[in-house]
Amino acid sequence: MNAASSLVGLAGVHLPMLLVFSLALFFGTVGGRIFQRLRIPQVVGYIAIGILVGRSCLNLIDEQMIARFQPVGFFALGVIGFMIGGELKLDVFRKYGRQLIITLLAEGLGAFVVVSLLTTGLSLLFMEWHHAVALGVVLGAIASATAPAATVDVLWEYKTRGPLTTTVFALVALDDGLALLLYALASAFATKLTGQVDVGAASAILHTAYHIGGALVVGAVAGVGLNWLLRWTREYEKALTFSLGMLGMVIGVTRLLEMDMILAAMALGATVVNLAPRRSREAFDIMERFAPPIYVLFFVMVGARMTLGAMTGSLWLIALAYVAGRTGGKILGATLGARWAGMSGKVQKYLGMCLFSQAGVAIGLAMLATDNLGEPLGAVVTTVVTATTFLVQLVGPPAVKYAVAKAGEVGLEVTEEDLINDYKVGDVVDRQTPAFDQGTPLAQVLPVIAHTDATAYLVVDDERRLAGMLTLEGLKHSLASEGMWQWLLAFDVMEPVPDRATDEMPLREAITRMGEQNLDYLPVVQGEGDALVGMLEDRKLKRFLTREVIRRKELADEQAEPQTAGS
């Protein structure tokens, strides 16, 4: 076995990279499914599996392996950034821009101030004041970041839509920028305070402006390019290649130029969605379909890299103060910010709970702090942030789920495909469809058919069991001989039922069966005796699904109205 393609895992066993990749995907998905069954967001399941196989437990995925998977992580963050960018529509900002900025500043600065005060205060017990303050402001700045990945993954999983969802999407997108800015200022201040190399506040801000501004430019330029390419691309395969290729390029270029990768990906998504709202839907659909395995792998790796390491008592206390301060600061800031901005009561109440997640940016900034602050403060920052990430990544997603559920926004952002996947046949079957007794003469059948709009009718026996069906095509042959209508019965002209569905059958399966047999309808029965339930008719089903999607969207939009009124 090639040393380059395998790594030493538990008990010295060499695991080929592709095997680890596949196992992570498989068990990550299984873990997600189990957690979903327990009504916990799937992302927690992926992370839990990662923790199990990672450095904290089995060590099947060790540090080297994690390093090798880093490009997957970058790509996953890029995809997530791109998808979030797709949510940043200009009309939302035109409408709610002021509200979003106020809320962003309040929740970000809330976490920054509370964490800075708490950790500085606590650190004074263990270190000199200038070190304590330096540590406090750096931790405070890092605390302001919110991980978009785990947060929006929950929003997507539960198909949420409404004012809280819109606000969270916008905040997690903008949050990174605020955290980077705060960190630049805090680290400049801290390095000055601790006597490390003084880069100066102006230089730090300039560097941050390059980091953020450069990313936005790269993303926007790539967005214009992708929009142009999609305009000339009709085939799905080419659109997929262009979209993934452009995203990969944005990630690569920003890594090369040391710019913010997630912001650039967001700018790409935001540019595409705002330049061509309709055409770009395809690019986002493509990415959405392509993304799930990348997410699974990414979150398994997030879990695998988590380690509690050798935490001393004082570090535990600082970590505790960090989590408590961040949670309290986010909730307080978000509540006050949403109130000042005139957002609805539900947003004020639940926004803070959606902002607990912490991951990539926070860990990245903590790593930077090691360079900026040097030992031992840098190590303290890294250990505290890593350890608390461990905790908030497990608590954050369920908190988001709780918040959006309480705000009544779950299940409102659905497509017809989502509904097809969620429904059972019993949820959509037409129970009022006319059914004829098999002894009914055609003279009585035909007037009913003339006054209803079905394309097929069911025929039942004395015990209301499905006996056959009448189709317009089949009836056509009996229409010519009017004299026969008095004595020709439904029994005589009914045709055998080509297939049937049951109440409990997943709707997806029923639709697949109809498609395979080229049927426009499928009778629905119950139990072994074929007791009739009703009819699933393609035309009516499509109408129902379209109406349901519109109804849910209208419901979400109605909930959004108080936000506009309050602004």
Binding site: G439, G474, H477, S481, M484, W487, L489, P496
Partner: protein, 163 residues
């Protein structure tokens, strides 16, 4: 109003594919049930691929729903069987009028036309029903069939519309 003779000839040409001279018989049954059973037995005697028990059960199931006596002394028992591959017709003239047939016009039945079709051949089945009815509703054809005294004569009358 009697139909023009040309259209009847066209219909008959199609019926000739499904009715053979051997499939025509004369019965002398006292009741509807016996006449139907005898007709079924005769049909199976000519078309051995048809199962008698299945055919009899299907005929009686249909009669239970509603009588196939359509008036003017005519009955058209018709069934679809999943076990048969092609459609076939048998004709029986009962010497005695069948008073218990519960026809639409409440008059006795004398002529029975049995149509047996495969379950999947819905279109042919309805076409045969329609053609038999159309042909026998024509007074000249029906009278010729009713007055015949031998199966061969009935067959000729049925197909040619004249004695």
């Amino acid at each position: 109003m009697p139909r023009p003779i040309e259209t009847i000839w066209t219909d008959m040409a199609a019926l000739a594919e499904y009715l053979t001279p051997e499939a025509v018989t004369i019965l002398d049954c006292p009741s509807k049930a016996e006449a139907l059973s005898a007709l079924a037995a005769h049909h199976v005697g000519v078309h051995s691929q048809v199962d008698l028990a299945e055919l009899t059960a299907a005929i009686h199931q249909r009669e239970k729903l509603m009588s196939t006596g359509i008036g003017q002394a005519l009955a058209i028992p018709h069934v679809r069987l999943s076990s048969v591959k092609s459609a076939t017709i048998s004709v029986a003239l009962n010497r005695r009028p069948l008073d218990d047939y519960e026809s639409l016009d409440n008059l006795p039945v004398r002529l029975l036309v049995l149509i047996v079709a495969p379950a999947g051949k819905h279109e042919i089945y309805l076409q045969l029903l329609s053609q038999v009815v159309a042909a026998l509703k024509a007074d000249d054809v029906r009278n010729a069939v009713m007055q015949a005294e031998a199966p061969g004569t009935i067959f000729d009358a049925f197909l040619k519309g004249q004695p």
